[in-house]
Structure formats: C-alpha cells, structure tokens
Symmetry: C3
Subunit: 349 residues, 3 copies
C-alpha cells in the first residue's frame, strides 16, 4: 500500500511540516467523517468545521480561507491556497495501481494472424482482435474487449472490459476508453422510400485523437462518410451519445448523458453540461459552454455560455426565469389594472 509521511506531504504541497510529526505516515485519503488515524483528509469550506472538529484523520489539508478555531486544533493541518489542487497532488501518490493483464496474450484471446501487436502490449482474457489491425506498444486490452478488423490503436492506449471498437476505427496514443463503450456503430441514417425507412449506408469511420478519455457506456458512431472525430485531450463522461459526423475539437469536456446529434461541430475547449443536447449541424465556438440539461438549437458563439430549453445566452435565460417566477403576480397586477381602468372610465363618463 502506498504511504506518505507528513514531511513528504508538506514537501509536495510546499508548506511547513507540522512540528515534531514529520515521520507520521498516512496511507490514504478519506472524508472528515470517514477518516481514521492513518488517513489524510481535507477541509475546503467553513460548512464542514463541525466535521473537522470531530474527525479522527491523522492530518487535514485546509483551504486558506477557512476560519479555523482560534483556540487551536486537535489534528495537524496543512494550510494551502488551493485545496483541490493539493488533494489532486496527494491522490496521485495514493492511487493504487490498476490491475492489468500481464504483458503478452492470454491463451483464451483471439488475435488474427494478420494483426501486428507492439512491444509490451497486454491482451487479456477473451479479447478478440480482428484482421489487419495495428496494436501499438504497451496497449492494454482488458478482458472481453472486441476490436474489429482494420483498427489502429496507438501506443499506450487502454481499453477497459467489454469495450467494442468496430472495424476501421482509429485511436491515437494514450487513449483510455472505459468499460462497455462502443465506438464505430453505424450512424443513424435512413430515407423513407415510400414503404419503409431504407438504410443509408454509413461507410465512414471514427478517429479518436491522442490523450482522449471516454467513460463507460458511451456511443460514438461512425460517419455516414468521412470521419467522426474526437479531438486530442478531450474528456467524455459516461452514457454520452456522439452521432455520425460529429467533430469535437481539442480539450473539450462532455459531461454524463450529453447528446450530440449528427454533424455537430465543437471548437476547442468547449464544455457540455450533463444531459445537455445539441441539435444536428450545430456549431459551438471555441471556449463556449452549455449548462446542464440545456437543449441547443442554434449555433453558439465562442466563449458564450448558454442555458435552458431552448438554450439562450445564460444572462437572458436567467432574466427570463426570474420573470417567469413573477408571472403569476404579474397576472394579478394586470387584472387589477383592468379593474382600475374600468372604474376610471366609468367615473370619467
């Protein structure tokens, strides 16, 4: 189990070591309520001061703006400017290794003879790899992964159990895809031919660039023709739908259950909130953001934030919502005006 002394933690966070306690060893992180004497914890806001007072944590990272009790604290603290960053640094040291198949190929796996496999690759239990694939160095294919024919997987990619890559998909380097996601399903395209929805063949592919991470149960469909593309460094949460011919720029963040309809284009650094939805052919400018649950039906300018259903510029959306809160009152006011005016007219005649 990984372990850090308080002196090591202080060094990592560039703060003083609690006097006399430099040798105390921490073996994990826990919330204030759950932490034991071997755990580091953290206190990010005044709201948790009660829990802090009662915690059994061996030491606590404290956000500078939190007002600690003046009469001292019962546990050593590390006061930091950015508690989130401090926690992220510590977690890197406590992260237990991910269990992986050993280097080589499990005897139950199938790898087509025409496929090339790089050095250091780990091909797990019951993995299937079709014809003419290129599997890079140090790639990890966890149990039950399916790789269709003619797929490229760059160096250092990791596919978790039961991921499906359909034929002709290409992954860059260091791409991570979590369990049970599917890349390369046919795009959803039909034409009514008078008697039935005739399938429009979906002959394109999917390219996922370097350093993308994709959650679980995500669907990224192949293009009608050409390429559905996920830009480098983009991160996609669970249960997201990426339809055919979507082009996602670099370093986007797409939160759980968001849906991108066909041919949507995202610029660089776009953020889509949870359960947000983008109509087909929408373009989102660089650095634009969509709030959770919003439904976007028009292009969004760079750096613009939109919210609501239908999505509007966020300030406008807030103003309309505030007005809607007062609408029942407004109706009463209008009724009153009508009555007063009526009265005035009667008295006037």
């Amino acid at each position: 189990m990984p372990s850090l002394t308080l002196a090591e933690i202080a060094a990592l966070l560039h703060v003083p070591t609690p006097p006399g306690l430099g040798d105390r060893a921490m073996t994990g992180m826990a919330t204030l309520a759950e932490a034991g004497p071997g755990d580091l914890s953290f206190l990010g806001s005044d709201a948790y001061l009660k829990q802090f007072a009662a915690t059994k944590a061996g030491a606590v990272i404290v956000q500078k703006r939190v007002k600690l009790p003046r009469d001292g604290v019962h546990t050593p603290v590390f006061v930091v400017d950015d508690a989130d960053l401090a926690v992220a640094k510590i977690l890197e040291h406590f992260a237990p290794p991910v269990p992986r198949p050993p280097v080589g190929r499990h005897p139950s796996a199938f790898v087509a003879p025409s496929t090339s496999v790089g050095d250091g690759a780990r091909i797990g239990f019951n993995v299937f790899v079709g014809d003419d694939c290129r599997i890079g160095s140090n790639v990890v294919l966890h149990p039950g992964v399916h790789v269709g024919a003619n797929v490229d997987i760059g160096d250092d990619c990791e596919l978790f159990p039961n991921v499906v890559l359909r034929e002709r998909v290409r992954l860059g380097k260091r791409v991570v895809i979590h369990a049970s996601s599917v890349v390369g399903t046919d795009g959803f395209g039909y034409r009514w031919d008078g008697t039935r929805h005739a399938k429009v063949p979906q002959i394109g592919t999917v390219v996922i660039e370097d350093d993308v991470e994709v959650g679980s149960c995500v669907c990224i469909d192949r293009a009608k023709f050409g390429t559905t593309r996920v830009g480098r460094g983009t991160k996609i949460d669970n249960l997201v739908q990426v339809a055919h011919n979507v082009v996602i720029g670099p370093h986007c963040i797409i939160v759980g259950q968001a849906g991108l309809a066909g041919s949507v284009t995202l610029g660089a650094g776009v953020v889509l909130g949870g359960q947000s939805a983008l109509r087909d052919h929408i373009t989102m400018g660089d650095g634009s953001m969509v709030a959770g649950c919003a439904g976007v039906a028009e292009d969004v300018d760079p750096k613009m934030i939109v919210s609501g259903l239908p999505a509007l510029p966020h300030r406008q959306s807030l103003r309309e919502q505030a007005a809607l809160r007062r609408l029942p009152d407004l109706m009463a006011q209008v009724r009153k005006l009508q009555e007063e005016l009526e009265q005035l007219k009667r008295s006037h005649t």
Copy 2:
C-alpha cells in the same frame, strides 16, 4: 409450466371461488385483448370494459370500483380491493424460473487462485474473476461477467451477462445487477493545468448495500476518494448515471436515464423520475421526489416534490406553467390596456 386453479387463486386473493369452477387451471397472465382460455387477466378501470366484454380470458381479476354490467358477465371474476396487489401476488406464482448456470464453475471461466468462492455459487461461461475476491454463497455470475481484483460479492447476489465490476467494489447481500452495467469506473475528474485537462486520480470505491437492484447499462462511478454508496433496498432503473462520491440512501427509487452528478446525496426513500438530473453536491431530503425530466439545481427539503427545469416546488411549477399557458393572452390584454389608457388620457386632456 406453473399452473394455478381458480380455487387456488381465490385462496391467494382471499376472495370467493367462482361457483363450480374451482378446478379450472390457469397457466399465465395476459392482457384482456391477448388472453386465451388458459390465461388469467385483469380489469383495473372502466376504460377497459369493452375489452372485458370481448376477452377470451379464463378468469379476470376485477378492481372493486369498476362497474361490471348488471346483466352478468361471461367469464368468472375475482373482485378485489387492490387489483395491482392481486396481480403482483399471482405473478409470483406464474413467474418462470430464470435460467442460470449450474452450480460450480464453467470450464471456460477464469477465477484467480487467490479468490474464494462460497458454496452454491454459479460461475457461468466465460466469466472472469480477478485476484483476491470474495464471492459469497449462492452467488450467480451469468456468462461474460467481469469481476476485477479485490472485489467482495455478498451471498445470494446475481450479476447478469456482461456486467463489469471494476477492482475494489463491494456488494452486500442479494444485490442484483442487470446486463451490461458497469460499477467502479473512474469518476470524471480533471484539472486544467494550463495546457491540458490533467486527470485527478479516482482512488475511492463503490459500495452497494444489501437488496439493491440495478438495471441494465447503468454506470456507477468510483469515488475520487472514499466511497460512492448505494443504500440498502434502493432500486435503480436502466441507463442511470451515478457519478463519483454520490451517496444514495436506503429504499430510493431511481427511474430510467436519471443522472446524479458528483457528490449528490439522497436521503431515505427518495424518488427520482425518469430523465431527471441532479447538479453536483445537491442534497435531497428523506422522502423527497423529483418529477420526470426535472433538473434540480438546489437542495430539496424532506418530503418536498419538485418539478420542471429548473426544478421548483411542484405547486409553484404548476402555477407558473398555468400562467405561461396564458402569457400570449396576457400580452394582448396589456396591449389593450395601453390603448385604452392612451385614449383615456387623450379624452382627459
């Protein structure tokens, strides 16, 4: 095939046996329209009286408040106070057994030598169980299930095909997880470091308590640190997203496609409607409810019902919606008021 006589049905429902028909055997349940002479059916409201008149069902459970024709009925009936409860009781008797792998281990399955397996466990075709797991008694692992290292599965759990439990997840007793769900994916956490979204390690785990049932294609992510928790007796429908560090209380009901963002807390007996969404760090009090499609952005008090986007107390939401229905009319009224006032001012001067 299971079978019940009308006398047995009458006994189960605590109602009289149809005279002279106690030996008639029913072998299933069907809707009024689909039922044949061997089927029991049910009539829950007056809206289905026409279908009742035409049914070929061998017998019909009838909700007491339904007004049956005065001139008699052509099929034996069981009049009950609570038709839903009556149907549930009967279904238990007609339920065919779920096909399961035999007790023991299928030769194609992999179980790490360091893992312990309880008596009566059924480990199916192509199941993978990693190192140092504890598989309880009578656990059923259907084909293709993946169990990562250091996982605890309590007695009498059942995991349907292709379920993935990542490392260090813990299940209580009698937990049921339906096909293709994933428990223990990394939570979705990154920090922009100036050039890229740096991954925040997700070193926590997931605990699912006794008697939880989880639908298909559900994602329950591991905590950043500490525990993502699903309380005992909670039931989760298909395609639900449960993000890192969510804590769900006991006996909650979470309907299909709902989404719980990071660190959401649900009290006991909370109900989340289909496609509802909860912003991160929201707390829902005991017995509170979220209507389908609602988007919750603020804490919800115990027993409160909220609806709409953004979610509001349900009465307020209804009042605002009613006002919104009349808003186009209100605009016309205000225009008319303006004109009348204008006229009055002119006549007044």
Copy 3:
C-alpha cells in the same frame, strides 16, 4: 476496394456523364475539404461554395438549386434534384463489407445441444446460446453475443458484439441490433410493502418484429406480463430506454437517448426526437412527432407535433416561447401602465 467510374455514377444517378471523363474511377466519398482525386464529394448548398472552389475531389454531386460559378468549374459535376438521395445511392456501392464471422460455429462458442441453428448461420468467437433456442438461417452472431434460453431469432438477423438477449425474447427476420444493447431485462416494477420495495415479477417477454434496427447500448425491457413490442421496420438509435409493456408501432423513428416509460403506445410512423421522454401509459397517434428534449405527459393525436417541457402542440409551444422572450419587456410595460394610471387617477380627482 469498391470502385465506380464517372460513367457508372452518371448511370446510377440518371444524369449525363462528364464529357471525356467516363473512365475516371472513384473509390470513395468524402467531404469537399477532405476529398482527394479518387473521391467523389457533394455540394448541397451555397454555403459550401468556397470549399467547392478549393476541393481536390475527383468529381462532385451538386444539388440543382446551388448557384455554381458562371465562369465554369474545375472539377466534373453531377447536377441532381435530390443530392441526399444521390449520395445514398452512391454510398450503397462504396459500402465496404461488414467483417463477419465465417459460416459455422467458432470453437470457443457455446451453443446448447437443444438449440437449432439454421443454414448459413455465423456464430462467432465466445458467443453463448442457451437451451431451446431457434436460430434462423444466415443469422450473424458477432463475438461475445449472449442469447438466453428459449429465444427465437428469425432468418437474416445480425447481432453485433456483446449484445444480450435474455430468455424468451423473440426477434423477427432481418432484425439488426448493435453492440452492447440489452433486450429482455426485467421491467422496473416494485410495490412498497411497508418495509421495502417488493419486486413485482416481470414474467412477460419482448417481441421485435421484422426489419427493426436497434442502436448500441439500448435497453428494451420485458413486459410485466404479456409483451413489450417493437413494430416492424422501426429504427431505434443509441442509448434509448424502452420500458416494460411499451408497444411501438411499425416504421417509427426513435432518436438517441429518448425514453419511453412503461406501457407507452406508439402508433405507426411516430418520430421521437433525441432525449425526448414519454410518461408511462401515454399514447402517441399515427404519424405524430415529438421534438428533441420534449417531455410528453399527455396523449398526442395522430399527426400532431409536440415540443417543449411539458410538451405542447408545437405552434403553441413556439407562441409561448416567443412570449417568454418578451416577458421581461412586458413587466416593464405593466409597471409603466401602473404609473400612468396612478398619475391619471391623481389628476382626475
């Protein structure tokens, strides 16, 4: 690789062959920006005229209404009335074959002895087929597919990797189900018995009729009793939830992440937009449509279009949204009216 000469393309589209270029061979389709000399491309609107001027495509299908430059074009064009239809026709010729397991049974697959398998069926790596199933002729079961006991799969069906069909499900002919979808999970039904949510047995099944196509990570639950049904020719996109006892008519289109709650009934040719949601027991008339993100809480008449949350007839929804856009202004107008009236009253007395 499939290839078409410009003469062949002209014949397919019923337009003239570009003079002197009938022998030029095209081997694929690409967007104007991505196309090379061996690619056919297409130009559907004036918005892409700049890309057209710069394209390296070997030939371009052009929608008739597009205004091509008068001084000629640098690449051969096929001017057509319906560019989408033309593209669909061409894609059928360029579609590369889907890699499939060979006819027969992979040695790693398990097929129960009591199951019958039709001529020409392809049973891939690690497929599981339970007892007493009927697998039709030419059925394709890709790697990792799970077929529970007593399942019927009609001729010419294709199930992509890791699809799960639970016991007693029935598929018609030519049904396609994409990777990781699950058919036949228990419907979500419980009764609070005073201490817990008691499970209501879900003893029904699922029938999917001829020519249905289902996307990836879709969940179609078995009926409480009777049948959850998907009508012939219906097409379902990814991540859709179809709850127990839903009845979907023929030739419906259900876009990604839509959710149909229990006992919803769709007529023929119904269209559900992406992320739309239908409350339980709703009936949608033939040819009705639900806009993306809409939440339907009441029955919808045939051919009616509804939108919004809650869903309203589309015109009404648009009118209310337009009014809502002007609501902040309306409030200002009412305040002004109040002041003017006040003034008038004062001057009047």
